[in-house]
Symmetry: C2
Subunit: 214 residues, 2 copies
């Protein structure tokens, strides 16, 4: 298809598509002559992903470029490629390892991972941004004087594991390769806000069930 | 306790406490003489909450003031007071109601709420920011060409309801009144990032279980 059709089908203006092409976020089309290029379904899919990352995920262009670099890197194994793409997404601040609350949070989280039998997550824990985010959150609770650790997190972790099983089952309905990694990146951008919203909605439902509209 | 002890026990500097007092985020102490005021456990608890909202939640001071206004408003019923405090937290952009994808998302979500039997959430759906966030997320999926609606969201919603039950069970271990509302606000600020992190960690665990470290 030509640029005009790519624009019509994606809902992205031709000026914006040209900008994404210049920035290398969308691969160039096949040049037919000096002024015309031809695009295919893969360009359309990539364009939609870029738009979701920038408009919905509000990621800076440099981050989008980094995430896509991992999505396209055929030299990486499947789970490393997926991990590298997800790890390039924005993360929370790093924990201060000298802080006593951070050290206590590490101990509680190692205990939690043992208790859950999450051996893989434990093996990755020094590398994983998700693990470090969890350390920051648990340390913040403890600093506020709340007893928050392996005991309190276990039932939440079990529910989140069931959620992750749904995510991967959904992902496996997509063809393997770049499209599957793209779906996982989109899931992190679109499904995380959707889950947060569902969670708050469920809190509203449950609050009204317990207390009515007092 | 005096200002110095309040600072020591909260880990917040006296200069920052004075700033929070001037901004009305922490209520004034009981004045003993012209230069000295006395603070109690309630000041300490409030100070910790303010610090979590500003440092961990990165909320602007004006938002913190609005949330606290609802926490302290005794004229409101229990679930309204909690709702008003949570609804004052930052939210995603509003859906564009003229957009066909947004309209389709509304239809899917009304179907979802019926299917789940979430009558209270359905009654609140025109008011609730969480519902509007969900509309935005579902519309974004559909705009990208993914079939995402009541069918796909039902198992996620059920898991999020079980998560909300845990949240309220935890909240009910706190004394009723302002302290309980504060705990719910903190939950929205600290537990949401913790859940997101647990979810990503569970994805890493499940990915490695299915594909190994390829």
């Amino acid at each position: 298809m030509r640029l005009a059709e790519l624009s019509r089908r994606s809902g992205v203006s031709t000026a914006t598509i040209k900008y994404y092409l210049r920035e290398g976020l969308v691969p160039p089309g096949r040049q037919i002559n000096t002024t015309t290029a031809e695009y295919d379904e893969e360009h359309l899919r990539r364009l939609r992903l870029v738009r979701a990352m920038i408009q919905v995920g509000r990621l800076p262009v440099a981050t989008v470029r980094e995430v896509l670099g991992h999505v396209d890197d055929d030299s990486l194994g499947r789970s490393i490629r997926l991990g590298a793409a997800l790890w390039a997404l924005p993360q929370v601040p790093e924990p201060d390892e000298d802080d006593a609350y951070v050290q206590a949070a590490h101990e509680e989280l190692q205990l939690l991972l043992d208790r859950l039998g999450w051996g893989n997550a434990k093996a990755l824990s020094t590398l994983s941004p998700a693990y470090r985010s969890l350390v920051v959150a648990v340390a913040a609770y403890r600093r506020l004087g709340y007893d928050w650790g392996a005991e309190q997190l276990t039932p939440y972790a079990e529910l989140m594991h069931r959620t992750a099983v749904l995510d991967l089952d959904n992902m496996e309905t997509r063809p393997p390769g770049a499209e599957r990694v793209e779906f996982a990146v989109l899931g992190a951008i679109l499904n995380e806000p959707a889950l947060r919203a569902l969670h708050r909605l469920a809190q509203e439902e449950e609050t009204a069930r317990r207390y009515g509209f007092e």
